[in-house]
Symmetry: C2
Subunit: 158 residues, 2 copies
DNA sequence: TAGACGTAGA
DNA sequence: TCTACGTCTA
């Protein structure tokens, strides 16, 4: 059940600072940074319009997100790249991808969490990177030859 | 990574009482009751012999565990009943099933956690039921027609 | 690398 | 009911 104190909102989460580290997606949920345990893009719907609230980057599977200090090139979701039994498909402008596109047009802040390997090689860990704005997005051919969305996010100064 | 304070041991876990409730398998791990997030039978290996430390009962999938106040009929693991794309197979006397059989022979305590639906219908919850001994085990034909282990566990009085 | 009684939301 | 950037052990 969802007995979580903090609701999913756009922007800063009180008590959370840039550089804070976490071990599990479940922890991100508890502190209010990112509520979807198995999904990289979290979003809310306001008056029928989806807006991204947070994204978690990864190097796993075919998600080769590029992280520079202040710029992130983030791979969209969908296409079933994980499940090897299913064929890869073009990503669609729905759900989280649509939310990121809307966040760009409406200039809404997006929380960015960087996912990576944990120090001991087993498991993962997550670092809160702060608030970003979606600057641009485009389509690329992924490893599978199918269309993949790429979102460029830039850190909000200050 | 496994940065958990309590190691996986047989028997009582300090600070945990019968009736204590939890929401996630991950919580069971943190408090030291059950370390395997996606597996029902947890065990340790001592001098090359596997012994069960804890089991989590369930009503999901084809795991129709029967719970009476002091007796649990627990379904063994394996057989791939979950993954519908794979054919069901006979369960084997390996891993967790072997650990439970060894716990019976050597009269080792097993922690029992009862898994069930959460109050709101979404999600699940887990209740610590206390220490049990494996009294008996046998093979049955499961729903799929394949061999399934059933373990009878009885609550240790007091 | 694959398998395992996981979770939440569309 | 299915999908989703999970998480651990063998």
């Amino acid at each position: 059940g969802k007995n979580v104190n903090t609701p999913n909102r756009i922007g800063h989460v009180p008590g959370i600072n840039v550089g804070d580290e976490f071990q599990y997606k479940a922890e991100l949920r508890v502190v209010g940074l990112h509520f979807r345990i198995m999904s990289g893009i979290d979003y809310v719907e306001i008056d029928g319009v989806k807006f991204a609230t947070s994204i978690v980057s990864s190097k796993k599977y075919d998600y080769d997100d590029k992280f520079d200090a202040d710029v992130l090139i983030y791979t969209g979701e969908g296409g079933n790249m994980i499940n090897k039994e299913k064929k890869a498909e073009d990503q669609k402008m729905i759900k989280g991808n649509l939310a990121l596109a809307n966040s760009m047009i409406h200039k809404r802040e997006v929380r960015v969490i960087r996912g990576g390997e944990s120090w001991d090689g087993k498991g993962k860990h997550y670092v809160y990177e702060g608030l970003f704005l979606v600057d641009n997005y485009w389509l690329e051919k992924g490893v599978s030859g199918k269309n993949v969305y790429k979102f460029k996010l830039c850190r909000i100064p200050g």
